[in-house]
Symmetry: C2
Subunit: 153 residues, 2 copies
């Protein structure tokens, strides 16, 4: 089966319905599609509702676990920084993608700029970062270390 | 008001309820807290439910818009790659954080490794990336260019 074709269909669907940008993603497990999604930023007013993230949320909900290490993901476009991170947190081990982030830039999306901002952080162009001491915030960290039977993710 | 103290309280709350790791985030608009969240990865089985992302989703839902450029975010820990991307997509312009990602690594979280994986991509240690040609996936991109009255995000 041509999974990229399915992902592309999702991209068309979401864009044509006015739900988001022209991006689709499919997650596969044991040769079967377990989730299929498109960008939903506009419909849901959620800036994190990129196709890959929506697909990950659907798949983890279906499987009732946050670990997708037995899955692969197909995305119509190279993941942005946020989605790259999400794919890694989900422990997905293989990613197939079509368009590049340079192509995404050509049609007006900020992926490339966000990658550049990270490279230049904390001197980013757009996001000003201020480190406050960790005097207060280390408290929960220290309690976490001592916590028993904690679930790792 | 000490916003970092509020974020820290969230971190304790989420961890003690067993909902996720020891992380909290607060979003401020015009001097008022508009959303407050903690990590929910364990409770929701959603690997993207980091404190910053949950806070962004709550704030955008409340404001009914995906653009948070008039907001600031306080996070008990330096954002991971995914959350850094999410903050940028939400157009938040100022971030305050407490613990560093090195401190997060010391208590067992992968933030630092994911940053390293991106640096080494596509030769990442954990995620194998396969570029397929964009012959198919360029279709939605070209249609997007021609689309009228589209909403930018």
């Amino acid at each position: 089966m041509d999974y990229m074709k399915s992902a592309t269909k999702e991209a068309y669907k979401g864009m044509r319905k006015g739900q988001g940008g022209p991006f689709g993603a499919i997650i596969i497990r044991k040769g079967k599609i377990i989730s299929s999604a498109h960008n939903m930023v506009i419909k849901t007013n959620d800036p994190t509702a990129h196709a890959e993230i929506v697909a990950i949320r659907k798949a983890t909900k279906k499987l009732k676990r946050f670990n997708l290490s037995d899955c692969e993901i197909y995305s119509t476009c190279e993941p942005c920084l946020m989605c790259f991170g999400a794919i890694e947190w989900a422990k997905i081990k293989k990613l197939y993608y079509g368009c590049t982030r340079k192509e995404a830039k050509m049609i007006g999306f900020d992926d490339e700029e966000i990658y550049a901002d990270l490279k230049n952080a904390p001197k980013t162009k757009r996001l000003k970062e201020v480190r406050i001491s960790s005097e207060e915030t280390l408290g929960p960290f220290l309690e976490w270390v001592k916590k028993r039977n904690k679930k790792k993710y």
